[in-house]
Amino acid sequence: MPEFERVSRIAAADAQTYELRLYVAGQTPKSVLALANLRQICEEHLQGRYEIEVIDLVENPQLAQGDQILALPTLVRRLPEPIKKIIGDLSNTERVLVGLDLRVRT
């Protein structure tokens, strides 16, 4: 993607509300860590304009198919579009920000 387009998309995204969904399977160390990392990143970068929905697939296994979930934890950015998927415990903040289009890939 050309640099200009990328930057302007980030600027546009800047003003939007983020609808985020975190898929986990029970209270595992990875899922707990992922949620904590996610909250911290959102507070720092998206204060006041994000929603986090945590979906536990142990309780709702039928929801895994719809978002094509394989790896856990998976964070799905449903809004702004396009849909983005970030897998892992979100401990690499840089990559999470790139994945959410909050930072240009370097």
């Binding site: 898929y23 399977a25 990875k30 992922a34 697939l57 142990v58 296994p61 039928q62 895994a64 198919q65 094509q68 979930i69 394989l70 790896a71 856990l72 934890p73 998976t74 849909i83 983005k84 998927k85 970030i86 897998i87 892992g88 415990d89 979100l90 401990s91 690499n92 990559r95 999470v96 790139v98 994945g99």
Partner: protein, 491 residues
């Protein structure tokens, strides 16, 4: 079927395969089915699932990673597999898994628990006993962390065992490995290799059981075919030989020849080989046989691999056998094809389909030896065994003409002669400028038959076998059966 102390097995319902493996796949364990693109892996796996759902009351789960999974569903519909109907009836659950590497950012530790959740959910939904993962190696293209993937696959396969499901995992053939990602390292219970080669522009499919822990299995490569009825393996050495043997006799169409078989002709449902060099009268003998059957009102099928039906009709008319009315009456059907046109499995499939559709009581293949140019002798033998087996099962009396290259050479057919109930050898001799034809019944199982070498003539009133006590000068040259005729016969 399974021998004692062997592991429990699950029937696949794939023709031939359950015989080769003495009962199917190991129950409750994963089996790796690998092969190159287009080798039939997916079809094998789907057949296992569909047969499970329809024939064995074992619902199944298909977890597919293929991009064209929907296309696949419509492809298998042509084989009579109605996946949507099975899904609606809760006999099958299908989950299409998509992994788009471009969409995914990897940010730390993860596992594939989501895949487990989906699989467990699908298994629970239909109460699955059978599971197919096709082709799980696609994950390696979608996710970057090979270490995690491998650990998770190992966990997945042992989890499948814990679920007690009989599973097929398909894998793409890799360089120097059975599968690209070395899945054979993780699945050690059973490994099946499918192969699709093209040799001399002719394609042949083969199947081999590479490994089957705790079980006896055939180790050969077995030809298999994919036709309108799906997939079937040709287990040459494991045919059950359980045809009933009727005592009814059918006329050869030549009275004197019937006389050589105790006055009654061939056994119905038997297989007769007629061999001889070019121009020895094989087709004439076959034409008499067809004519006699049609006169009895029986349906006859004639596969031609050399002449066209028109040529045959014309030539036979010259010896007073007019088959055309039978064709018109719908009693006689010709199928002419060039042997080189298809691979062996296609010929076999076509022939079986034609036999099934036309339901003949008599079938002629002329000359069967032309098929031998299509494949290796082992393949041809496998195919002929299958055809003969099929014909016998249907109680069809079959006559196979075999063209031998030299005057007496029979070695080309020695590998199929053991399948034959009756073997008639024809030969030409040139005696003092006179062309003489000889006929000899080399063997005829289960009946008294003449051991004499008899001279015969082709007249405009048909083939006539001369009296055994014919004119002395003629007999002198034909007084004994040349050693060369029988030395390769193995009878």
């Amino acid at each position: 079927m399974a021998a004692r102390r062997e592991l429990p097995k699950t029937l696949t319902g794939i023709r031939g395969f359950d015989e080769v493996t003495r009962g199917g796949l190991p129950t409750g364990r994963p089996t790796l089915v690998c092969g190159g693109p287009g080798s039939g892996k997916t079809l094998f796996a789907l057949t296992f699932l569909v047969n499970g759902a329809l024939q064995f009351e074992e619902p199944g789960v298909l977890l597919t990673f293929e991009e064209n999974a929907e296309e696949m569903a419509s492809d298998v519909a042509s084989l009579g597999f109605d996946l949507p109907e099975l899904i609606a009836a809760k006999k099958l659950a299908v989950d299409y898994v998509r992994v788009e590497r471009a969409e995914i950012e990897e940010t730390g530790e993860y596992d594939l628990e989501g895949l487990f959740v989906r699989l467990a959910y699908a298994i629970r939904t239909v109460g699955a006993k059978r599971v197919v993962l096709d082709t799980i190696e696609s994950l390696f293209a979608g996710l970057k962390n090979d270490g995690i993937l491998r650990a998770e696959l190992r966990r997945l396969f042992s989890w499948l065992k814990d679920q007690g499901v009989t599973a097929i995992i398909t894998g793409e053939r890799g360089e120097g490995l059975l599968t690209r990602q070395g899945l054979e390292e993780y699945i050690s219970d059973a490994v099946i290799l499918l192969d699709h080669r093209v040799h001399d522009q002719v394609s042949t499919r083969r199947l081999r059981v590479v490994k089957y822990r705790g079980s006896h299995h055939g180790t050969n490569e077995y030809p298999f075919l994919i036709d309108a009825e799906g997939l079937s393996v040709l287990p040459v050495s494991s045919l059950a030989l359980q045809h009933h043997a009727p005592l009814e006799r059918v006329s050869s169409g030549v009275a004197q020849l019937d006389g050589m078989f105790g006055g009654k002709g061939y056994y119905r449902g038997s297989t007769i080989l007629v061999s001889g060099a070019a121009g020895t009268g094989k087709t004439s003998l076959a034409a008499h046989f067809l004519d006699a059957a049609c006169r009895r009102g029986e349906r006859c099928l004639c596969f031609l691999f050399e002449e066209s039906p028109q040529q045959l009709l014309r030539n036979m008319r010259s010896i007073g056998v007019d088959l055309e009315p039978w064709v018109t009456a719908g009693l006689l059907q010709f199928h002419a094809d060039r042997p080189s046109r298809y691979g062996l499995e296609t010929h076999l499939a076509t022939m079986q389909n034609v036999v099934t559709a036309f339901r003949p009581t008599v079938t002629v293949i002329d000359p069967v030896t032309n098929l031998m140019t299509v494949g290796t002798s082992a393949d041809v033998q496998a195919m002929l065994t299958r055809i003969i087996d099929h014909l016998k099962t249907e109680n069809v009396t079959a006559m196979l003409a075999s063209l031998t290259p030299g005057q007496y050479a029979v070695e080309r057919i020695e590998n199929i002669s053991s399948l034959m109930d009756t073997w008639i050898i024809l030969a030409n001799e040139e005696v003092s400028g006179r062309h003489r034809r000889g006929l000899y019944v080399l063997k005829s199982r289960g009946m008294a038959h003449s051991n004499e070498l008899r001279e015969f003539v082709l007249t405009d009133a048909g083939l006539q076998v001369l009296d055994a006590s014919g004119d002395p000068p003629a007999r002198s040259r034909f007084e004994s059966v040349p050693e060369r005729w029988v030395e390769h016969a193995g009878v």
